[in-house]
Symmetry: C2
Subunit: 235 residues, 2 copies
DNA sequence: TGGGCGTAGATTGTATAAAGTTTCGCCTGT
DNA sequence: ACAGGCGAAACTTTATACAATCTACGCCCA
């Protein structure tokens, strides 16, 4: 009902050509096919999607507002390169918001939602088993978005979408590879807590999940000039 | 330094013509000169600011992303009309985020910041004294933004900007006028707590301030069909 | 040989024109 | 008199053309 009278800009509207471009580029960034610093030329993208620069520009501006693309005046659009400081801010915000979101999710629990969550867990496990890293990283982010959708809180959902997208770039840039493969499946534990309507457990599981993700990051401060240079030079 | 290499899209860039339009329209909405539902024609705005529709369109799209403007396909842009449900979400989010923001603000306290806050309180009182309702409502929102800037947390700042803008529309639409004029100056108490570096007091003051604002609202649920109709019809 | 300057090419920023959709008024028919 | 439909006007959407800016390469000179 409200969807017709007020088509929120966030609505998919798959028929909308701008949205197709935006979602295509977003997926490419979230799946780590487009790496931070890469130039997103307007003509280039326009040719791929068969659209004029006008539409590409609109899509890129939206992505810039979501924080996964930087637009530099007279130079063009680039995939964002979050700094360690950005990373800390993003995860602090997630630690604040996501426990509240799962809290709401517990209120919204229903057989249909549990079904949907379980199905998602299956997809995640399948991607993991077949070693599909790209699908894996995408699904991992989508789990958090799914919980936010379940909460029914559209503002938190909007904020979280932004945070998840940025997190994907942060993990790509700063994840340490020397960490032990974590045996426990946090997402499954969160679903279990939601299903049991155990508010406190759900919040706690979510929080520790986020802490573990952040613990796997190596957020090197700009101590070494090497880093400073690489950062300033951009690409 | 980072400002040059990555000119965040949020940066004022007062020389930027799109920003001038965006800030002009934002100010008009926040000061309640443009009321919810009003049509924002591209030609109309373009003529006022001496800009082509291309630039106006960019500005309006940014405002749509901030949630204070709705863009309806093939119909144009309108000042947003938040529903009671939207209002509850906005204030819940503010109750979650703003106490954390003042917490950070306490960490950042310095003579310069205290000076700035005090000066703002003075401006607020002056506007109140001379009965300038428009300046009053604008400054009231800017106080919260100022605290968020003080916190140094750019993500929270971005989120809060959006929440404040929407709050302004919500207050305009749903404020009850039969409430007693609150004698206490909450903003001043918050500044005092920040100056004393009293974290807990600052959080508590901010929370009770938000609760009081929300308590002054009459968030009528769509019980009466009259309201439902008016909402669906839009303008 | 190394650095500075200038011009050519490419890319973005802005404006304008063409295309499509909605809205509103008017007219006709009942 | 009123409902329904046709048509023109206004507006948004999209594409394209033009202007401004930046980048890169090559040339010249010290």
């Amino acid at each position: 009902m409200a969807a017709r009278s007020r088509p929120k800009s966030d609505a998919p509207d798959v028929s909308d050509r701008v949205s197709r471009i935006r979602e295509g580029v977003t997926a490419a960034i979230l799946e780590h096919r487009l790496l931070p610093g890469i130039k997103l030329g307007e003509d280039e993208i326009g040719e791929i999607y068969g659209a004029s620069r006008t539409l590409v520009r609109t899509a890129l501006q939206q992505l810039a507002h979501e924080g996964i693309v930087n637009i530099e005046k007279n130079r063009g659009a680039f995939v964002a390169r979050p700094t360690p400081a950005d990373a800390r801010e993003v995860f602090e915000a997630r630690r604040l918001i996501e426990p509240t979101i799962v809290d709401h999710a517990v209120d919204a629990v229903s057989p249909a939602w549990i079904e949907r969550l379980q199905q998602h867990l299956t997809e995640e496990r399948e991607a993991e088993l077949r070693g599909d890293a790209r699908a894996s990283v995408r699904l991992s982010g989508e789990f958090h978005r799914l919980v936010a959708e379940m909460s029914g809180h559209s503002i938190y959902l909007g904020f979280l979408k932004e945070l998840i997208a940025r997190s994907s770039l942060i993990i790509l840039l700063y994840r340490r590879h020397d960490t032990p493969a974590c045996g426990t499946d946090h997402h499954a534990e969160i679903v279990t807590a939601i299903r049991k309507r155990d508010r406190e457990a759900a919040r706690a599981q979510m929080l520790s999940h986020l802490n573990e993700i952040e613990a796997e990051l190596f957020l090197k401060d700009p101590a070494a000039d090497e880093l400073r240079l690489a950062d300033v030079l951009g690409a």
